[in-house]
Amino acid sequence: MEPLHEKKLIHLEEVANHVREGIIDMLFEAGSGHSAGPLGMADIFTAMYFHVLNHNPKKPNWSERDRLVLSNGHICPVQYVVMAYAGYFPVSELKTLRKLNTRLQGHPHRGSLPGIEITSGPLGSGLSQAIGMALAAKLDKKKNRIYCMLSDGEHEEGNLWEAVMFAGKNKLSNLTAIIDRNNIQIDGNTENVMPLESLRDKYESFRWNVLEVDGHNIERFVGAVFEAMATYEKPTVIIAHTIPGKGVDFMERDYRWHGKPPNKEEAKEALSELRTLGNRIKSEHE
């Protein structure tokens, strides 16, 4: 991974905004799906596919590629949009999300779409699969890195803590977990449904290196990934504090947008806000 220069940073921020537009478009078209999580993770997914990952969209099965494992499969719209923009498949295919015969399944399926590393949706099992990939890479003496995207809510699953324990024991330094800490889940605020704090203390006690960043600050996020790469005796978890629904004012921080798509009016309003960068460049989009 190269250092992140200012010009690239500005470019990535622009791409992330386009990614949010793509998410709104595809969710409206699909008529079902999750809104808040994908919008909240647009900055990080953009940073991953356009800066962090060592990958080749034209050769999705390249054996030396870094692996991005999406554990909380329900936020796949953000992954689909970013992957389409990166060149894994035609952007026009985004409109097929959740429709019959699509490669863009409602929850991602390995084998359906090139570049999807695991099937996910049922929560709590992605980190273990990333561990399996990290073990295989170590056995094969490969230098690729394994990134696992996790939600905060899925930390209520027992399977996930089994994985955390195992990775700490085995000092899997080629593994980086990234938690979308947006504090919402379907039934409400995570701390009301089932308190997760202190996530930092929990991971540290399981022998992980713990970093915390603003999940919308791409520069800080990339800096944390660099730090993870320079940590040799432990796996690293980056707790990325994000705003669910980020970029669309009426969706931000509202857990009710966790599991539903925008209707026609809402999509129009959301797109207008994104395209005008929150009314900062109003004129050309009126």
């Binding site: 049922p122 399996g132 990939m133 399977n159 089994e162």
Partner: protein, 330 residues
Amino acid sequence: MINAKTKLNPKLFDADVEKLPIRNGFGEGVLIAGETDPNVVVLCADLTESTRSDGFAKKFPERFFEVGVAEQNMATIAAGLGVSGKIPFIASYATFSPGRNWEQIRTTISYNDSNVKIAGHHAGISVGPDGATHQAVEDIATMRVMANMKVIVPCDAIEARKATVAAAKIWGPVYLRYAREGTPIVTTNETKFIPGKAEIFWESKKPEVTIIACGTLVRSALLAAKQLEKEKIGVIVVNNHTIKPLDEKLILEVAKKTGAIVTAEEHQIAGGLGSTIAELLAKHNPTPQEFVGLQGVFGESGKPEELMEKYGMSVKDIVRAVHIVLKRKK
């Protein structure tokens, strides 16, 4: 009479026939698989010795992963290894794996089509004194129902070794079911084992009924056949070690030839071997069938032979089922 071509153990009917835990076959088989292919890895959930994974762990420590008492984690880590060029075997008791981790197996192994081999030990009620918590009697049903999954139930330690070696060479998810206790040796090293190919172990001159068995009940079926011979009832005994994919051709042939079927398995009669056979025959050639197996109840503590008798899976029960099915035969 015994089908000579199958080269079965000549002492198989003897009271002092050699007995070995079927799990020994796993231990030997996985070691051979590991020597043959450097991509074979083994994961175990705190039952290394009991599942006979210790030989592999000693010989290939870098390819052996102790996950602790965490069967869900074991299955999902294996799923990640299996899509990364490795051939993972996961070993635990069948009540826990594939019991407790069923959804992980479904989503991350089966649906992912990850190259994982699930070794379920202590299957059936012959686990004995441990009691019903540790007696897996639903695992054939819960595994065979999954798309992409193959299911193999070896009848003794020798067949278990062959099945384990073979599973490493079969692409994709495979469930291997191993019983715990000393099980009489039925086959020999020379007995043919081809996954997906059932074998006729016994065929009388004029067979009137076919007993299709798997696992520990294969020998019981042969003992039943011997007894029925004295009653002048001709029998075919099929060792149906591969539940999925089923050897449909052979099953349809014997059903046509005899017109009556008894299935025998150390498993719930719902969803297991008997159901598999019934599904096939109902479609192609409806045939009277009796089901020897656990009749919808849980087991309990006891000696294996006591349990098999109490729960209706003894030689006597197979003979009785033959008498009943022959009465139903038109």
